[in-house]
C-alpha cells in the first residue's frame, strides 16, 4: 500500500536516511523504531513531502507521490501527527477538525459552498463522531490552546483523522503519556486499524510498539537494520547492539 523505494535524504554530509526500502500493507499496523537521531522523523517528513528526498521514491497504491506538495499528499490519503504538538491554538477544538476536514471534502467533490462555508450536515456529524471517539466532545468549543497536555495529544490525533486518511503516520503519539493514556491509545490504534486505516507508528515506547504492531522495522544511523514481527526483531542481535551497545550484545 505505502511503499518507500531506496529512499535517501542527506543533509550535507549527514545521511539522515540512507537507502531505506519499506513496504507497508493495507490494514497493517507497522512500527518504525530506532535510537534517537536514527532518521525516523526524517522518514515521516519525506513521506509527507516536507522536503524532497535526495534519492528514491515514495508511492501510495502504486501512485508515485515523490513530486507532490504536502497538501496534495493529504488529499491522496496520507495524514500525520506531530511529535511536538502543533495545534491551531487560537481555534476551537471543533474548528481544528473542521479545517482538516476540508481536504476530505475536496476528495468527495463537495460543492464549493459546502467546502468553504458551512460544511454539510454529514460532515458536521462526522466531526462530532471523531471528537466522541477521542473523548473530546465535551471540549468542542474550547480553544485548543487551553487544553491539557493529554487532551492536546488526542486532538492532534483527531485532527489527522479528520482528513479521512488511508494511511496515518503517528509520530511518537505516546510521548509524555501515562500508563492509562497509553492503554487508551493502544485501543484506539487497533480500532482505527479495524476500520480499515493503515497505520505507521513511530514510537519510543517499546511496550506499546511490541503490543500493537503487526510488523516492525528498525533504523540505525539512517539505515534499516532489521524488519519483521515484533518478536523476531526483539531477538535480532543487530537490534540489541543498536540499542544497548556492542558489549551487551556479546
Amino acid at each position: 500500500m505505502l511503499e518507500l523505494h531506496a529512499l535517501s535524504k542527506h543533509f550535507g554530509g549527514v545521511r539522515a536516511v540512507d537507502d531505506v526500502t519499506l513496504s507497508i500493507g493495507r490494514g497493517e499496523i507497522f512500527g518504525l523504531i530506532g535510537p534517537n537521531g536514527s532518521g525516523k522523523s526524517t522518514i515521516v517528513n519525506l513521506i509527507c513531502g516536507l522536503f524532497p528526498p535526495t534519492a528514491g521514491r515514495v508511492s501510495l497504491d502504486g501512485t508515485d507521490l515523490t513530486g507532490l506538495p504536502p497538501h496534495a499528499r493529504v488529499s491522496q490519503g496520507i495524514a500525520r501527527t506531530f511529535q511536538n504538538i502543533r495545534l491551531f491554538g487560537q481555534l476551537t477544538v471543533w474548528q481544528n477538525l473542521w479545517v482538516a476536514q476540508n481536504s476530505a471534502d475536496q476528495r468527495r467533490e463537495s460543492s464549493f459552498f459546502s467546502r468553504w462555508l458551512g460544511g454539510s450536515r454529514r460532515a458536521r456529524a462526522e466531526i462530532d463522531r471523531t471528537l466522541a471517539f477521542f473523548d473530546l466532545a465535551h471540549k468542542a468549543d474550547e480553544l485548543a490552546g487551553n487544553l491539557a497536555f493529554g487532551e492536546q495529544r488526542r486532538l492532534e490525533f483527531a485532527r489527522a483523522l479528520a482528513a479521512k486518511p488511508a494511511v496515518l503516520l503517528l509520530d511518537e503519539p505516546a510521548a509524555g503519556m501515562n500508563a492509562e493514556e497509553i492503554e487508551q491509545l493502544d485501543d484506539r490504534i487497533r480500532r482505527l486499524r479495524d476500520s480499515g486505516i493503515t497505520i505507521l507508528l513511530i514510537e519510543h515506547h517499546m511496550e506499546l510498539v511490541m503490543a500493537v504492531t503487526d510488523r516492525v522495522a528498525v533504523l540505525n544511523f539512517g539505515r534499516k537494520i532489521a524488519e519483521g514481527t515484533p518478536s523476531q526483531v526483539q531477538a535480532d542481535p543487530l537490534v540489541r547492539e543498536a540499542y544497548l551497545g556492542t558489549a551487551a550484545a556479546a
Binding site: 497538501h71 493529504v74 479545517v99 476540508n102 475536496q106 462555508l117 489527522a160
Partner: protein, 303 residues
C-alpha cells in the same frame, strides 16, 4: 456638523482600508501593499466616472475587480517570501504604484477644461458627488452602507470554514499544509479579497475628496492600514473599526487642541495601548467578558 460628517467619511474609508489589511493579516502576512491597491481603486474609479462618465456603482465594482486582480497577481510572487522580507517586498510594490501614478498622465479635453490624472499635480475635479446633487450627508450614508456590508460579509466569512482556514494558516503553516491546506491558494485568496476591499475603499476616497495625488498613497497610509487590525485585534472585524475610531477620531482629530504636542502624544498613546492590550483592543478575553455581561443582562430581563 460638517466637521463630524467629514470625520465620518474618513473613518468609514479607513475602516475599509483596515479591513483589507485584516484579511491578509489573518493568514499571518504583514502586507504594506494595501495602500497600493487603495491607490489603484482610487484612480480607476475616478477615471471611470470622470473620463468615461460612468455611474458610481459600476465604477466602484470595476475598481474593486482591477485592484483584486492586481492583488492576486502580486500575491503569487510576494507570498513566497515571509516576515520582514514580505514587508520589504510589499512596501516596494506600494511605492512602485505610487511612482506610477506620479508619472501617470492621461488627460482629455472637455470643453475648455483638461480633465484626468496629471502626473505629479494629481487628479483633480472628481466631481461625481456634487454634479449629481449628493449632499455630504448622502455621501456619509453611502459610505457607511458599504462599510456595513463589507463588515457583514467578513463577519460571515470569519464564522465559515474559510475563516477558520485563514486563521489556521496564520497560526502554523507547517501544521496547516500537513492538514491538507494549499498555503499558496489560501494566502493568494486572502490577498485578493484584501485587494478588492481596498479597491472599493480607494474608489470612494477619490470621490469624496474630489482630488487625489500620489503623495496620499505613500508608506504612511500603508502603515495606517496595517496598524488598524494590529491595534484593534484579530478576534473579529469590530476590532479594526474600534482602532480606526480610536486613531482617526480620538488621536488625530480629538487631540487637535494640543497643537504641536499632538504627534508626540499620538505615538505615546499607541505605545500605551499596545502595552496594555498586546493582543489588540478587542481581544478574546474582552469579547468573552462582553458576551458574559450581555447574557447576564438578558437573564435579568427574563427574570
Amino acid at each position: 456638523m460638517d466637521f463630524y460628517l467629514g470625520l465620518a467619511q474618513i473613518i468609514g474609508v479607513h475602516t475599509l482600508l483596515g479591513l483589507s489589511a485584516y484579511c491578509v493579516l489573518l493568514t499571518g502576512q504583514v502586507s504594506l501593499a494595501q495602500a497600493g491597491f487603495f491607490a489603484i481603486g482610487a484612480y480607476v474609479a475616478g477615471m471611470l466616472t470622470v473620463l468615461a462618465q460612468w455611474p458610481l456603482i459600476p465604477a466602484l465594482l470595476v475598481a474593486a475587480i482591477v485592484a483584486g486582480a492586481i492583488a492576486c497577481a502580486v500575491g503569487f510572487p510576494a507570498l513566497r517570501v515571509k516576515g520582514l522580507m514580505l514587508v520589504v517586498a510589499t512596501t516596494a510594490f506600494g511605492e512602485a504604484v505610487r511612482l506610477f501614478f506620479f508619472n501617470f498622465n492621461y488627460q482629455l479635453e472637455r470643453g475648455e477644461l483638461r480633465i484626468g490624472p496629471h502626473g505629479g499635480e494629481g487628479f483633480r475635479q472628481i466631481r461625481y458627488f456634487p454634479e449629481n446633487g449628493w449632499s455630504t450627508f448622502d455621501v456619509v450614508v453611502f459610505i457607511w452602507i458599504v462599510v456595513a456590508l463589507t463588515m457583514a460579509a467578513l463577519w460571515w466569512m470569519d464564522r465559515s470554514r474559510a475563516g477558520a482556514v485563514l486563521r489556521a494558516v496564520g497560526e502554523d503553516e507547517l501544521a496547516a499544509q500537513s492538514s491538507g491546506l494549499n498555503l499558496t491558494a489560501v494566502k493568494v485568496s486572502a490577498m485578493t479579497v484584501g485587494g478588492v476591499i481596498a479597491g472599493i475603499g480607494g474608489g470612494i476616497f477619490a470621490h469624496y475628496t474630489t482630488h487625489i495625488e500620489h503623495v496620499q498613497f505613500g508608506v504612511v497610509l500603508a502603515t495606517f492600514a496595517i496598524a488598524y487590525p494590529i491595534l484593534g485585534g484579530l478576534s473579529n472585524v469590530f476590532g479594526t473599526l474600534i482602532a480606526v475610531v480610536f486613531i482617526q477620531g480620538l488621536l488625530i482629530e480629538g487631540l487637535r487642541f494640543m497643537g504641536d504636542w499632538r504627534n508626540l502624544l499620538f505615538g505615546g498613546l499607541i505605545l500605551l495601548a499596545m502595552n496594555l492590550r498586546p493582543r489588540g483592543l478587542l481581544d478574546a478575553p474582552a469579547l468573552a467578558e462582553l458576551k458574559r455581561r450581555l447574557v447576564r443582562r438578558k437573564d435579568r430581563a427574563r427574570a
